[in-house]
């Protein structure tokens, strides 16, 4: 059963040997030339399970991978029962929200400490389960990197995602995330990533502060 038609892949909820599983299938994109399309889909299908597996080792809950089919560009993985953090954040009291955001920050910190860049940190890619675990999903745009630049972009995207989907409380939420992040990587490392984020922001187009620096 198709449950989500994303831009990158289709997600199906299926029964697989008596288990409820998610089948993530990267279908060919007609807008791309076949050659480029094949390259991108293959690359992402190989890398996503690797990243998810490493994330688990870093102590970040991710769905267990059951099978990868490179010919079909599909991944069969555990189905996680829970609530999307995107919906949840808008419904809960401030204090609870701060706690969840701090937890998210800790998990991002664990990823970065192991050189894992998620690549698409948004609240729609996080699931809170009934036993209070936050699962990270969708590592399709991720990569392995220990560079400050990559970590900075990763957190910058998180910030931007908060600003576009949770603009009412984006600032507090991001602050709580940074708190959690610092708890794992240390204040000094957090400060240098924060500095990098500022630099990345200033590279963008039409940023008020950029004019001031000249």
């Amino acid at each position: 059963m198709l449950i989500k038609k994303g831009a990158e892949a289709n997600l199906y909820l299926e029964d697989w040997h008596g288990r409820k599983v998610i089948v993530k299938k990267r279908i060919p994109k007609k807008y791309r030339v076949p050659n480029l399309d094949e390259q991108i889909r293959l690359y992402r299908t190989i890398h996503e399970p690797q990243l998810m597996h490493e994330a688990k080792k870093a102590g970040v809950p991710t769905p267990t991978i059951y099978m990868v089919n490179l010919a079909e560009k599909s991944i069969i993985m555990e189905h996680i029962n829970g609530k999307q953090v995107k919906q949840l954040l808008n419904q809960i009291p401030n204090k609870e929200r701060a706690r969840i955001c701090k937890r998210i920050g800790e998990l991002i910190g664990r990823l970065h400490q192991r050189g894992i860049i998620h690549g698409d940190l948004t609240t729609s890619n996080m699931i809170l389960t009934s036993n209070n675990k936050i699962f990270f999903v969708d590592f399709g745009l991720g990569e392995f990197s220990n560079e400050l630049e990559a970590k900075g972009v990763d957190l910058h995207l998180m910030k931007r995602a908060l600003q576009s989907t949770h603009y009412r409380f984006a600032e507090e939420a991001f602050k709580a995330i940074l708190d959690g992040y610092a708890k794992v990587v240390g204040n000094k490392n957090m400060e240098s990533v924060l500095e990098k984020i500022r630099e990345i922001e200033l590279r963008g187009r039409y940023i008020a502060e950029r004019g001031k620096e000249k």
């Binding site: 038609k5 994303g6 831009a7 990158e8 994109k29 007609k30 807008y31 791309r32 030339v33 050659n35 480029l36 390259q39 991108i40 690549g119 698409d120 940190l121 948004t122 729609s124 745009l141 972009v153 995207l157 931007r160 995602a161 576009s164 603009y167 990345i200 590279r203 963008g204 187009r205 039409y206 940023i207 008020a208 950029r210 004019g211």
Partner: protein, 340 residues
């Protein structure tokens, strides 16, 4: 009948448009500054604008068949853009408003691109991909403003194509700009040369792609046609992917393509595919209204004026870094009829 005159001068184009309050475009006159060599020199572009301003304004009145005294409000692009160019347009607008004793409206250039696109394609609530030499933005309306879902983290896609073309020694002339030249060459390309494909969440990066493409030129191992083809395919696939993500995320009923790069047929084709896949209507803004133009400023001026968003001359400083998502657009909600 009430009319708004709009002046656009954010970059290389100086343009004047006249729109009626009912949304009829009566005039849209443009005069572009074309550098002999290199990119836009802000001071030279501004000098060009001040030289042609009177002529373009007069021509707009002639085209529209109305007199200066028929104007109800003057609008100008207040930002974002190149300082000297913006100030030249602003000066002309202030002078006109003061002389005619009519109110002044400062319009955000990016908002204007979306509004004119909606007007001419009849799109109601689109995901917009705005691609030009200065901007690369994926935006959609949400709670009072156009929210930016994705944008470039460094240079604009049009800038990437322009600099590449210049590095390849190509020359543009009036009526045949770099983007069109690259498109033409790309059509003859056959071999896809791997280039960095850089999508970061919904954001994009083109600087690495540009560097790699220029590197290929220097190596001299590939045909220029093949590099153009590979550059276009890679850059446009990136744009289409993030637009599709925004579309999947927002579930909007339309995709609107605008800006100078919107004229590219290959990009149009790619976006049409994703629009169809998500049951959205694909709308591409005709070139006249997709390039920087005065009509879009005039029409957005009408919308803003109707909501009382006028500014006194002494507070009409230009805003070089004015982001799309900093602007309240109260008329959008009204057009939904309060249904949202």
């Amino acid at each position: 009948m009430k009319y708004c005159l709009g002046i656009e001068s954010t970059a290389d184009d100086f343009s004047v448009g006249i729109a009626s309050f009912e949304g009829e475009i009566l005039a849209n006159v443009m005069d572009a500054y074309l550098p002999e060599e290199g990119g836009i020199h802000p001071r030279e572009a501004a000098q060009h604008h001040s030289q042609v301003a009177a002529k373009v304004i007069a021509e707009a009145f002639k085209k529209a068949g109305i007199k200066p005294k028929d104007i109800t409000v003057i609008a100008f692009s207040q930002g974002p853009g190149l300082g000297p160019c913006l100030r030249t347009g602003a000066t002309a607008a202030r002078a006109l408003a003061t002389y005619l004793k009519v109110p002044l409206v400062g319009v955000n250039h990016c908002v204007a691109h979306i509004e004119i696109g909606k007007l001419v394609t009849k799109a109601k609530d689109p995901v917009t991909l705005y691609v030009s030499g200065g901007n690369t933005i994926v935006a959609a309306y949400e709670a009072g403003r156009y929210r930016i879902f994705g944008e470039t983290l460094d240079i604009a896609v049009g800038n990437c194509l322009d600099v590449f073309a210049r590095s390849a020694g190509l020359k543009q002339k009036k009526g045949l700009v770099f983007g069109a030249i690259v498109e033409k060459l790309a059509k003859k390309g056959e071999k896809l040369v791997p280039l960095p494909y850089s999508v970061k969440g919904m954001d994009l990066s083109f600087s690495g792609l540009l560097t790699a493409a220029i590197q290929l030129l220097k190596e001299g191992k590939h045909k220029l046609e093949d590099i153009c083809y590979s550059l276009q395919e890679t850059a446009f696939s990136m744009l289409t992917e993030v637009t599709e993500r925004a579309l999947a995320h927002t579930e909007k009923p339309e995709v609107l393509l605008t800006g100078g790069v919107a004229a590219n047929k290959r990009l149009q084709e790619m976006l049409k595919v994703i629009a169809e896949e998500h049951n959205a209507r694909f709308c591409v803004v005709p070139k006249e209204y997709a390039l920087d133009n005065g009509a879009m400023i005039a029409w957005t001026g009408v919308l803003a004026y109707k909501h009382g968003l006028t500014i006194p001359v002494e507070k009409s400083m230009v805003k070089r870094k004015w982001r799309l998502d900093e602007v309240d657009v109260p008329w959008v909600e009204e057009a939904f009829g309060g249904a949202d």
